[in-house]
């Protein structure tokens, strides 16, 4: 396949769109996945916990 302007722009306009949509759906699902809520809360609060030196 020749690397022409038409070919690259068609690729960018089709697959570029698909991958961005798939990616955004995936990320939204990850961010709002119910069972991950606890882990996220813990991460957000862990910042304020006592930071008494590295464990290893």
């Amino acid at each position: 396949m020749d690397l022409t302007y038409e070919a690259t722009s068609t690729f960018a306009k089709s697959f570029g769109l698909i991958y961005l949509i798939v990616l955004s759906v995936g990320i939204t699902a990850y961010a709002f996945w119910p069972s991950l809520g606890k882990r996220f809360d813990k991460a957000a609060k862990s910042l304020l916990d006592d930071e008494d030196g590295p464990c290893r």
Partner: protein
């Protein structure tokens, strides 16, 4: 500080600095009679200095410190001091070049002091010197705290920090000698670029290795932003600096790309330098230091994940908005414009998330200038990302592009967002790192805050006025269809704003000088206090936990 390294690490430092000094010698020999030769000598002196420090500590006894029980903060401390040094130098250069525009006789007729050579010293000085050192230093701090693990290695953080500063030094001195690739924010020539790649890869490996030792199941979101900063800057830097040196004995190279491809690559780099150097890394700072200082967890952790991916995947497409009305295909311009407008969503999600975190802690914002720095940074982040999306729209861009409006926009971001979050983080972290009760003077922090705010507002308003005046004068036609104003007339109209800009910049610089003095006095004078938290706990194994070999 060298005595805290083990003997093998000190030997490693000796070998590394010897190798860099040798590289400097080769550069000096190959580049005789060319600015590259001067850079060789600079490298030689810099590495020679490090070598001497390593040599003097070579016979020191092995450290008895228990490496299990504390964070390794020496590189962070040096990084913060270097950031403040570059802040004063870079902002000082900014005030000088701004004054040259209002009073051209301030050029003093030397070649090195012309506007074209001093301006990149200002931009690189503040972006890479100040911003870069602040990012490296705070990333070392944040990655250790959020992972609850000590830095993976004791030599590589020094290599990253000092290597990066050698790059900054070579860059700034090169500009004064007229060395430039003529690519904005990517001016340094090929040998400096290769050096930065080496430094950056070591930085990435260090970050990954520290994260791999983490003692937390989840990697806190601030680390994601720092990692995006490191990874994407490496990618941008390598691609945009693909070039063929004209000879291996001179500071001159030719880009691997030509014409509009070169322009597109440059602005893909340029805009993502804004995105990943000046935004992603500093968002990492915001997501760590703002909740920490406000003593409240981030308002919505889920939102911070969403906005992270939004920022990463939208920004990478936005660069072509710098090339509206050029030879670039129309659809690529439209693509850049569309993504720039979409970027408003994750950007405002981040700014809103930061401000909502402060809900319920507004009394702290009122009382604590350090937290107020961070709050104002989030506000300016929201303002300048809105302005950026707006200016990327083709019709707006036809008025704003090539005018001082762009300069005003950049400074709303760089002063209002990047510098304020950095100063806020520095004020938050300095007492902790040096084990002090508090900053030397809270009144000086307070005056720095108001100087910074006044300076930014004066600067940005001056440039808005100047830029819109300039843009409108450029597009005004007479009835007979000729341009109504000559170029000189636009300069005369803009002069009052140029003077206002010097005043705004000088206020901001004065704040930075006060900040540097305050940090210095904190280290020298402020009372010692061992904090309750962030303090090493005892460990059974009284031996270094980290393997010596790096």
């Amino acid at each position: 500080m060298m005595t805290r390294l083990m003997a093998t690490e000190r030997q490693g430092a000796l070998i590394l600095s010897g190798l860099v000094a040798l590289a400097g010698l080769i550069l000096a020999a190959a580049g005789r009679g060319d600015p590259m030769g001067v850079h060789g000598w600079i490298t030689l002196v810099f590495a020679g200095g490090v070598l001497l420090i390593a040599l003097r500590a070579l016979d020191a006894p092995e450290p008895t410190e228990d490496r299990l029980a504390s964070y390794y903060d020496d590189p962070t401390k040096v990084g913060i001091l270097l950031a403040l040094f570059w802040a004063v130098v870079g902002m000082g250069m900014g005030v000088w070049v701004a004054a040259q525009l209002a009073w051209p006789e301030l050029r003093f007729d030397a070649p090195w002091s012309s506007f074209g050579r001093l301006r990149p010293v200002h931009t690189s000085g503040v972006i890479f010197g100040f911003g870069g050192n602040a990012l490296i230093a705070t990333s070392f701090h944040v990655m250790q705290r959020t992972s609850r693990a000590r830095l993976a290695g004791h030599l590589s953080p020094w290599f990253v920090l000092l290597g990066f500063n050698l790059f900054c030094l070579v860059a700034a001195s090169g500009y004064l000698m007229g060395v430039t690739q003529s690519k904005e924010y990517a001016e340094p020539e090929w040998y400096a670029d290769i050096w930065l790649v080496i430094v950056w890869v070591v930085y990435f490996v260090l970050y990954m290795r520290t994260l791999a030792r983490r003692n937390e199941p989840h990697i806190y979101v601030a680390n994601w932003y720092y990692l995006a900063f490191i990874l994407v800057v490496a990618m941008l830097h390598i691609v945009n600096n693909l070039a063929v040196p004209a000879s291996f004995g001179a500071a001159k190279s030719y880009s691997a790309f030509a014409g509009v491809q070169d322009a597109m690559t440059q602005w893909w780099y340029g805009h993502n330098a804004v995105a990943f150097f000046l935004t992603a890394g500093f968002l990492g700072m915001l997501y760590y230091f703002l909740p920490k200082r406000a003593e409240r967890p981030i308002y919505s952790y889920r939102l911070s994940i969403l906005s992270f991916w939004g920022i990463v995947f939208f920004y990478i497409w936005a660069g072509s908005h710098h090339l509206h009305y050029t030879a670039l295909p129309q659809w690529v311009q439209t693509l850049g414009m569309t993504f720039s407008v979409m970027l408003l969503v994750p950007s405002w999600a981040s700014a809103g998330n930061a401000l909502m975190t402060l809900n319920g802690a507004w009394h702290k914002v009122r009382d604590d200038a350090t937290l107020r720095f961070m709050m104002l940074a989030a506000v300016f982040y929201g303002l300048s990302t809105f302005e950026g999306s707006f200016m990327a729209v083709r019709a707006v861009n036809s008025l704003s592009h090539y005018t001082d409006w762009t300069v005003g926009h950049v400074h709303a971001g760089a002063m209002g967002w990047v510098a304020l979050i950095s100063f806020g983080s520095i004020y938050a972290v300095v007492p902790l790192l040096w084990r002090k009760e508090a900053m030397y003077s809270w009144k000086l922090v307070e005056s720095h805050f108001w100087l910074a705010l006044a300076g930014t507002v004066i600067y940005v308003f001056a440039m808005w006025n100047s830029g819109i005046t300039q843009g409108l004068m450029w597009r005004t036609y007479t009835e007979s269809g000729t341009l109504a104003y000559s170029f000189t007339e636009t300069l005369v109209a803009m002069r009052p704003y140029y003077i206002a800009r010097v005043i705004g910049g000088a206020l901001f610089l004065a704040g930075a000088v006060i900040g540097a003095y305050n940090v210095y006095m904190t280290i020298r004078v402020a009372g010692h206090q061992a904090p309750q938290i962030d303090y090493p706990t005892g460990s059974e194994a009284n031996e270094p936990a980290v393997p010596a070999a790096e």
